[in-house]
Symmetry: C2
Subunit: 271 residues, 2 copies
Amino acid sequence: MMSFLKRLRTSQKKSGSLLCIGLDTDAALIPRHLGRSAGAVLSFNRRIIDATHDLVCAYKLNLAFYEALGDRGWRIIEKTLEHIPRGIVTIGDGKRGDIGNTAERYATSLFDELGFDAATVNPYMGYDSIEPFLRYNDRGVFLLALTSNRGSRDFQRLRVNGRPLYERVVQSAVRWNAKKNIGLVVGATHPKELRRVRALAPEMPILIPGIGKQGGDLKSAVLFGCTKRGDLAIINASRSIIYASRGKDFAAAARREAIKLRDEINRCKNI
Amino acid sequence: MMSFLKRLRTSQKKSGSLLCIGLDTDAALIPRHLGRSAGAVLSFNRRIIDATHDLVCAYKLNLAFYEALGDRGWRIIEKTLEHIPRGIVTIGDGKRGDIGNTAERYATSLFDELGFDAATVNPYMGYDSIEPFLRYNDRGVFLLALTSNRGSRDFQRLRVNGRPLYERVVQSAVRWNAKKNIGLVVGATHPKELRRVRALAPEMPILIPGIGKQGGDLKSAVLFGCTKRGDLAIINASRSIIYASRGKDFAAAARREAIKLRDEINRCKNI
């Protein structure tokens, strides 16, 4: 059984890419000619995956967009995952978090039933809400540390003994990481803080959303997000790639955007 | 359009009950004779609702247990909600929380599509992750403040300027409550802190899990959780009621437990 860390490193090495494409697929935003049904979302995802799978280390599925499809959402997730070539890391982005017996259910759904390689988890409820996910040695568990949105100021940056709360989350993550399967989420909108997080957790995967529409800085995301070996930063882009064109050329346009971003990332690595 | 606060008060007054039954229905724990299918979960829920609906002010559905049913889970939620008599408050307990455009999706799923009266939301990502839920004037949004589990110590109790983080969440909730549709979640396992939360938020609904299997103290949950008018505390019990018997008499046993607990709650109110 390959550890998550190893699997991620292998995927990044093989693809030569730190790019993760976020399949936040909104039935209302996909090209009109596909229609607006749940089936259209699946066709869209398959076409995007076909056009980009050699350019990415990971795909991230934002579960909210699939839940919005009602009872068909679950199957669309399953069928989308089936379409992603083995070796590429899949992240179930649901930011779950609940007491132990409930967290177990969420872990079962995401890891056993749907078969995601990794999941995002909200740390607010503490260790016993995270531990059921950590039992899966070979899966990654990305804890929200400092998120990309404005609201990250409201609580995540509050000072606890002179240090911001999100650093406390990072320190706990390092302490809880006996199985080397914890990762962190830090928004590209916070470059200085990302650097600090990388210093506190030198060998942890960091999922970095917030470039593109959210305005985060790519260069610092890459420079500060990577380990000394130049990996384990996962640079996520969703809307800027998957909606690059709303016409019949959407898949080709997504490929062009993904190549551009992958190459920009790699140039940043070599500065 | 009746406000959530009004709706909850009406339901508590009409039922003469602060009890909320948690339908955390686990296919593996329901009576054997029903089977283990998703359909069995629905039959179980319907029987529990038939047997208890005159005893409660609310039902809470823990979404993790339905997600664990895969693609049928969504329909089981819909059909369970259809079976709950109008006027009884329904709470979708998913503890969601994400950036604005994603939180919108979760709110749409829970409020528009499934039609829950209220939802639980994780506050860690701050105001813009909560605001899409708050737009629904007539629905309740329960923010996690101090949860019932052990892990509540890890972050929720950390001191921020001399006060615990969860108090900061409560203060923010009071500030953000322009539409009077915010509620709080405080575990019955923290009686002193519940009293303090009620003082900070004298007119907010407080959802109180953690009695029963989790060991919280009922008397203080009721005394400290209620407003001066003696309402707006929602005392949740799940496993101790729905699994009161594993035999064919499960519905009658659930009714007995629910009556017992409702009456105990009402006795505590009158101390």
